[in-house]
Each structure stands twice: as structure tokens, then as C-alpha cells.
Symmetry: C2
Subunit: 406 residues, 2 copies
């Protein structure tokens, strides 16, 4: 027997017909001795429709009331899915985030799960029911409904799996698992059988969109294996877990990712004095702007001047530019130069720690394809290159071909 949490997203439950299909599919896989919790998101475009209603009332954002409004979306799906199970003869019960014991921080629209009191969920499972839980929501210490923000339903599913000590948390999605590269770009991208939490986190950070880092971190913390798999087939997908089983160790590189949502910023002529870099990056950090790929190079050794290059995400550009131009005026720097037609390509793999030559192989692949590298940065389990955005497809394919020949 096993205890499983299964999560289905909004597109899987977009219509009553799809909800019935989800119920049928869950029952098809469920052995009589299995205990199953299903976490669902709001049906299809429901969340957008609710947001439109709010926008028709006010241009302002009232966090508490917005969460009160948006949380109804999942409440509709759970009720309908529980009915669909009952209709198929499987006793089921639906729980809002509150009823499932999901306690969050007070931050409306971006709540963090503080703890889960899963007693009601466990009691109903013991009675042989499938428990259907609303994703994306919980209740804070004031008794108010709080939504969890982006990727919130995945987070609910993984956290709940941790709280009830489930054997696995299955995330159903429209792809068959985690691939060695985006299959829309690399035709022969390989589906991975396994990937570690750390690799998945790094891949998500570097542009892989299948999983939000948040729920992967949650899985890592609670030691919950996460099985990313397709809504449409019964095939095994990719399992995210602490360590590989033996036979998976052979792959040094797990995946090639790319991210076009980045901008390169070069701050030119920065005096080589202690505290200057701190001033620049602390101002960006205060504005909650994520900075990556920081490289400092000497511009003019005689004048003790450096250039500092880094990347930010596109949505942060306007604010970053304003902050940097203010600092440039104050400190009399040479210039702030923006290049927004860039892309970051990366290779990720825990195995590269003990394998020299990975960087050389990657640079070689790019060089042979005639692609210029603008910036390089590395972590313990990844190497990233910033290139021109127009060459991203070519770059990902060249690198993937080198690491995953055949």
C-alpha cells in the first residue's frame, strides 16, 4: 500500500468533463489499499475571471479581499472533483486550505506555509475516502484566507505530502517529466528518470519552467520524492529526490537550460575602492532586485577603474536602471550600459563537481557553433554563459548534442 498526494493544475480541471476525467484517472491507478490525497487548482481561467471582476471594482490592490476572492476558485474545483469521485462510487471529501489545516504567514497574495495540522485529512483517509484539497490557499493566525502566490498549488501538494508523510507527491502536468533540455527547442531532448532536489532547484533558477523552486525546496526539506508526470499518459515521469539510485549516476550533466528573461547591465568606470560594489548591490537588493552573473573586470589599472557586469530579469530592468543611474551620478561613474537582447544558457549536474572538463566541453560546443560568450558564471553544480539572444536555439542544441550525443 502507499500514501500518495496527486496534484492537478488548472488546465487539467478546466471543464466538468476534464474534472470527471481526472477522477477516472486517479481511480484507474489507485489500488484498494492505497490512500490518496488530490490537490487541485482553480478551473482553467477562473482566477483571471475573478481578477477581472476585482478590476471592474477598483484599480487598487486590496490584498486580504483579493485572497478572499481568489480562493473561491479552488473551492469550486474541490467540490466538483469530490462529486466526480462520489459519482464513480469512490467516497471522497473536499477540504479548503483552512479545513486541511494549512497555516500560513500573514502575507496576502504570497503566503508561506508555516505548518500543517493534517488531522482531519488523516482521519478521512483512514475511513477510506479520497481527500480533495484546495491548492494555493491556507489560513493565517488571524483566521483570514491567504493565497500562496505563484506555483502555490504545487507547494500545497508537496507540503501536505510532507505533513502526512506520503510516499510520494505526484505533480501532473502537460509534459511527461523533466527533460535534458526544453523539448520545444531540442528535438531529441531526453526525459530524465531522476534528478536531485539541488539539480532541479538550479535548473529552475536557470530557466527550466516545469517546477517552481519553492515546492522543490519544500520537497527537499521534508524528504518527499516529487514525481513530475503527464496528465495524459500513465507513463512514469521524472522523480525529484535526494540522491540517484545507482544506475542514474552515469550522467554527469542532467540538463541544458536557457533563460531569455534576462538583461545584461554593465556599470562602467567604477572606482576600485572598498565599499563601492557594496553600494551598488545593496541598493539593488533593497529594491528586491535579483542579480546574477556578476563579473568585475579591470578597465584601467592606472586609474584604478573597473567595469562591473551582471544580469537582472527583464521585469526588474526599469527599476534597476533608475537606481544605477542615480548612483552613477552620485559617484561620477562613466556610464551604465544596458543590453537586453541576451540569453543565458546553462548546464546543470551534481556530477560535475568531480568531473573536470565540463566547462571546456561547453565552451567548445559554443565556439564550434560560432557563438560568442559575453559573460561566464559558475556554481558548484552549474555553468552558465550569456550569449546573444538570437543564438539561443542554436546554442542549446549545440551544447545538448555535445553532452547527450546519439
Amino acid at each position: 500500500m502507499s500514501l500518495v498526494v496527486k496534484k492537478f493544475g488548472g488546465s487539467s480541471v478546466a471543464t466538468p468533463e476534464k474534472i470527471k476525467a481526472v477522477a477516472a484517472r486517479v481511480l484507474q491507478e489507485k489500488r484498494p489499499e492505497d490512500s490518496v490525497v488530490v490537490v487541485v487548482s482553480a478551473m482553467g481561467d477562473t482566477t483571471d475571471e475573478l481578477i477581472s471582476l476585482a478590476k471592474a471594482i477598483t484599480g487598487k490592490h486590496y490584498g486580504r479581499e483579493m485572497d478572499m476572492l481568489l480562493s473561491t476558485g479552488e473551492q469550486v474545483s474541490i467540490a466538483l472533483l469530490a462529486m466526480a469521485f462520489s459519482e464513480l462510487g469512490q467516497p471522497a471529501v473536499s477540504f479548503t486550505g483552512f479545513q486541511a489545516g494549512i497555516r500560513t504567514s500573514a502575507a496576502y497574495g504570497k503566503g508561506r506555509i508555516n505548518n500543517i495540522e493534517p488531522q482531519r485529512v488523516l482521519t478521512e483517509l483512514e475511513e477510506g475516502k479520497i481527500v480533495v484539497v484546495a491548492g494555493f490557499q491556507g489560513i493565517n493566525a488571524c483566521g483570514d484566507i491567504v493565497t500562496l502566490g505563484r506555483g502555490g498549488s504545487d507547494t500545497t501538494a508537496v507540503a501536505l505530502a510532507g505533513a502526512i508523510k506520503a510516499d510520494v507527491c505526484e505533480i501532473f502536468t502537460d509534459v511527461e517529466g523533466i527533460y535534458s533540455a526544453d523539448p520545444r527547442i531540442v528535438v531529441n531532448a531526453k526525459k530524465m528518470q531522476e534528478v536531485t532536489y539541488n539539480e532541479m532547484l538550479e535548473m529552475a533558477r536557470l530557466g527550466a519552467l516545469v517546477m517552481q523552486p519553492r515546492s522543490v525546496e519544500m520537497g527537499k526539506h521534508y524528504h518527499v520524492p516529487i514525481h513530475v508526470r503527464s496528465t495524459f499518459t500513465e507513463k512514469t515521469g521524472t522523480i525529484i529526490r535526494e540522491e540517484y539510485t545507482m544506475e542514474e549516476r552515469e550522467f554527469i550533466i542532467r540538463g541544458v537550460t536557457h533563460d531569455t528573461n534576462v538583461v545584461k547591465i554593465a556599470v562602467l568606470g567604477v572606482p576600485d575602492r572598498p565599499g563601492i560594489a557594496y553600494k551598488i548591490f545593496s541598493a539593488l537588493a533593497e529594491a528586491n532586485i535579483d542579480v546574477d552573473m556578476i563579473v568585475q573586470s579591470i578597465r584601467n589599472a592606472d586609474k584604478n577603474m573597473n567595469d562591473i557586469v551582471f544580469t537582472v530579469t527583464k521585469p526588474d530592468l526599469a527599476q534597476a536602471k533608475e537606481i544605477l543611474e542615480t548612483i552613477a551620478r552620485e559617484l561620477n561613474l562613466l556610464d551604465v550600459v544596458i543590453k537586453d537582447s541576451v540569453a543565458k544558457v546553462s548546464v546543470v549536474g551534481a556530477g560535475m563537481l568531480g568531473s573536470p572538463g565540463i566547462a571546456a566541453t561547453m565552451f567548445g560546443a559554443l565556439g564550434d557553433a560560432g557563438i560568442n560568450i559575453e559573460v561566464i558564471s559558475t556554481s558548484e553544480i552549474s555553468i552558465s554563459c550569456l550569449i546573444d539572444a538570437s543564438q539561443v536555439r542554436e546554442a542549446v542544441n549545440a551544447i545538448h548534442q555535445r553532452f547527450f550525443p546519439e
Copy 2:
């Protein structure tokens, strides 16, 4: 200063524009020192749309999940109305039934309010906020959402007014108050300034549709004056309370009501033996069928046989007929005769207790109009006549003209 609960129904909050209008209207009447709770129903056709979704999943009725589903309707309205208040500069906070402390019985779809713990409501009122509460819903002892059934939002409003000791509960509706007869039938029907709980209950029982008896009973129990008034004007409507103020006493009859949702049933040739009537009416009571206007007459004194005539509501007819035909066979009765083209016209007024001649005046009005009376029944504060359904408009006008000549 005053403490007021105001209730707006689904048609008053059917669109974002109407929700904004409700907020504006509430603020227009609110003096700075007033404390206001607003109870709202689901927007327009929302409840019907949710029911359609459920019907697309299953033909069966799963009470708990249906309540989980339907309660989202009010949750959407309260969030939007709270935003609308905030948009107008008035701090507001929305509460689900659960958050407002509304505890109900376990009966899904037809919960009864057992008690209200209004602490959060009172705290927010003290902080100067308008509190917006979801009508029609509460939470039972298991922590599950329960809806209150027909007229549920009115019940929420009146019960909450009782729990927080409000000065008045205002029910906003599409008519200007309670009238001496249905204004669609009697052109010069008068709006009453006041009516007692008992009169209103009797009028509701006898066909007046403005208020459900449940919320009137709740008002009576908690001594909450209920002000029934129009959403579209600022005029005073009708106040339902324990007793009249002096100047209202002059009206002996408060209203003329009619009810076409009735069927006459005659059970013919019933042996005049103890226990036979009990057998008939206990069988109907067991099936939860409401019976009214019971009249027994002697059919054949030599054979000790009676006829028993009574009315049931149209939706109960099929079941009542089946029960009665079974009993007729068992007891060898003569026949069960149904007449469904009947209507009940009634006069209601607490003052009739001390005023002889009311019945005679009513019968005279019907007789002068050439309307035959099929059955008569009376209570302490009402007299009802069953007539042919085709003459209902004429009958109501004739009676109204006699009691409210002007």
C-alpha cells in the same frame, strides 16, 4: 449613533457596477458615528451557474460538496463589496459565515443557525470598519460549510443583528415594503408603515412572498426590528416589530394575501371512527407534507360517513395523492378527489381578535363579487377562503376594497 445590519440580495449585487452602487448607497446613509454590517447574497445568477456545473458532473445530490460549491457565490460578493467600500475610502473587511462566527446545524443545504459568536465582527466594527458578511452560510460542529437554504441570507442578517444587538436589520429588496395586498394585483395597495412579527408570519404563510417566515421568526425571537425597504429609493419601508406604535393601531386588517400554489383534496366516505383521521394525516405528516384548511363534513349520517377536505401545496400533490390512494384502498374509502385550479385568499390582522364582523365583511365582499367560497378556515389573526383560481384577482381586489376603501 446606531448599529445597523443591512442585507442586499443577489439582484442588488449582480454586476460590479451594482456592487459599487450598493457601497455608495450604504455610505450615503451612514453617519460617521454609525456602525454598519452588510450581509450579501451571491451575485445575480451565480448560484444557478454553480448548480449547472454540479449537474454536469453528476445527477445525484451530494449535500456537503454542494454546500462547499454554493458557498463560494457569497464569498465572491463579500470580497468585491469590501473592495468597493475601500475604493470609496471607507475601511471594510469581509467575513465568510465561518469567520463571522455563524454556527449551524449539520443539515447540508438547509442548515439552521444554532448560535453566533460575533466577536470578530464586533472587534472590526469598533475599529470603524464596515463588516461585510456572506449570507446564506455558516459552519457546523465538524467544521464543514453549511448553506441555510431558501431565504438564507435574510436569516443570516436578522440572526446577526440579534447576536450583536443591532438597533435594526434592514432588508433591501425590489419593492418598497410590505403592502396591504400584492401591488401587481391591487393597484391601490397601501404600503404599511408597521406590521407585527405575528402578522407578517401569518401573511408569509398565506402567500405573501416578500419575507420568508424563518427570518421573521428569528427577528421575533431576538426582538430585532426588521425594516423591509427598497434598494432603489431612500424612503422608509415597512418595519416588522413586536407591537405597533400608537398611531398604527387603527387598522384592524393589515393585509389581503393570496396563494395560488395550493391544491384542494377531498377524501370522500371516511368512516366516522376514532383514529381514521389520525391515520390519514399522520401518513401525510411522515412524508413531510404540509396540510392546511382541514374541514370535515358529514356525508351520510346513517352510514356514519364523513368527507374530509384540505389543501396541500402543488409540489406535494403527487406524493400526497399516492399516500391517500393507498390509504383509500386499505380502508375501503369512497374516493380521493383532487381539484388543482383553486386559490386561497386571506385577510390578516392582529386587530381582528377584538373585532367581530371581519369574517362577515370578507364573505360579503366575495358574495357581492359573485365569487363562490369552497372552504373557509380561520386562525386567531387570519381568515382564509378557498375559491376558484380563475377569480383570484377579482377576489383580492373586492376584499381589499372593502377593508381599505380610502
